[in-house]
């Protein structure tokens, strides 16, 4: 989480500094949106809502935690709300999962397989906090302590959330996924 951002400029509402912040943290925020089951324009809208909240409250950032942690904390608060808001809209639209496939390069497409897509879909079906924890932990490699800081809960709670998420994913995927040696799914 390399942060070479000018905090003073950010607090002044400098657009360039803010663009830098968005560029730096948008992959994680967009990933969190994805893991919450948002699709296409909903991801963009939710990410815009997250960064709008960041822009509005950047003046209150006291620097007690890393800027990234603070941004993800806002994201973890805003995205579930956005998800609930867009749920009705999302249910009316056809599943855009294919849109991701279309944007991917041929190499990425070859790497993807049915098992992976089932895992992604299973993660999206998890309870909100579990989905966020799984995304941050497994995809972004964020440590338990930092996730605890983001979610403002003890590290033990994060570990419990991860444990429960794993158990739930195993339950969901157990019917469809045959456990193979790691990496076997890629060869399909």
């Amino acid at each position: 989480m390399d942060e070479n951002l000018d905090l003073a400029a950010l607090r002044r509402g400098d657009p360039r500094a803010f663009e830098g912040l968005v560029r730096q943290h948008q992959p994680v925020v967009l990933g969190l949106c994805q893991s919450m089951g948002l699709r296409g324009p909903d991801i963009d809208d939710a990410a815009a809502e997250v960064f709008a909240a960041v822009f509005r409250s950047i003046g209150n950032f006291e620097g007690r935690s890393a800027l990234g942690t603070w941004v993800y904390r806002i994201a973890c608060r805003v995205i579930p709300k956005a998800r609930r808001k867009y749920r009705a809209r999302a249910s009316e639209q056809p599943d855009d999962q294919q849109a991701d496939v279309d944007q991917a390069t041929p190499l990425e497409q070859s790497e993807r397989n049915e098992v992976h897509e089932r895992v992604w879909s299973a993660v999206e079906s998890l309870e909100e906090r579990s989905a966020l924890v799984v995304e941050m932990h497994y995809r972004r490699g964020i440590g338990v302590d930092e996730i605890a800081e983001v979610l403002q809960c003890p590290p033990g709670t994060v570990k419990t959330l991860l444990f429960r998420a794993r158990a739930r994913l195993k339950e969901i995927l157990g019917k469809h996924v045959t456990l193979r040696e790691p990496g076997a799914g890629r060869d399909q």
Partner: protein, 175 residues
């Protein structure tokens, strides 16, 4: 983020369970293999625009709420003042119709007549004129009191601004 590997040890399944370990690995590979969502090129601009729109909506909402509160405060102030005036007027009217003021006047006139009237022939005429002037004074005092109350209310209202239904002018000023 750098201590991820050390933290992973705490929440990983027991090494003795190969199925769990394989599942963990499958999860990690599958989740990492997910393609990144394409970021909109104008995300920062959109976020700033949204934040400003939210701020503006907030400000409008705040102004509207303040204007409404002020309107109700002024209305209740005016109603309270009118109630006080009505009560004073009602009390004065009751006193007048029961003859309390007349009795007060006659007592006053009697006092006046004993202290001032030395001439027995002119005492009746003097008492009548004093009685009339005392009644007029009492009514005048009641009206002055009412006017004072009204003046205080009007002054307090003029200090907070004119009464406007739901702060229409406040909103117009904001825009």
């Amino acid at each position: 983020m750098n201590d991820a590997s050390s933290n992973l040890r705490n929440d990983q399944p027991s090494p003795g369970d190969p199925d769990d370990a394989r599942f963990e690995e499958l999860l990690r590979i599958a989740i990492k293999a997910r393609p990144e969502s394409a970021a909109p090129f104008d995300l920062a601009a959109r976020a700033m625009k949204l934040a400003r729109a939210e701020d503006r909506a907030h400000a409008i909402d705040h102004t509207r709420r303040l204007a409404r509160q002020r309107w109700w405060a002024q209305l209740s102030g005016l109603a309270a003042a009118m109630l006080i005036v009505a009560m004073i007027a009602g009390a004065a009217h009751r006193m007048w119709s029961r003859g309390d003021i007349a009795a007060l006047t006659s007592t006053d006139s009697a006092d006046t007549s004993t202290s001032t009237a030395t001439d027995a022939d002119s005492s009746s005429a003097t008492a009548t004129s004093t009685s009339t002037s005392t009644t007029t004074n009492t009514i005048a005092i009641v009206f002055v009191a009412e006017l004072l109350v009204l003046a205080v209310v009007l002054m307090s209202i003029s200090r907070t601004g004119p009464i406007t239904p739901f702060g229409a002018e406040a909103l117009a000023g904001f825009w």
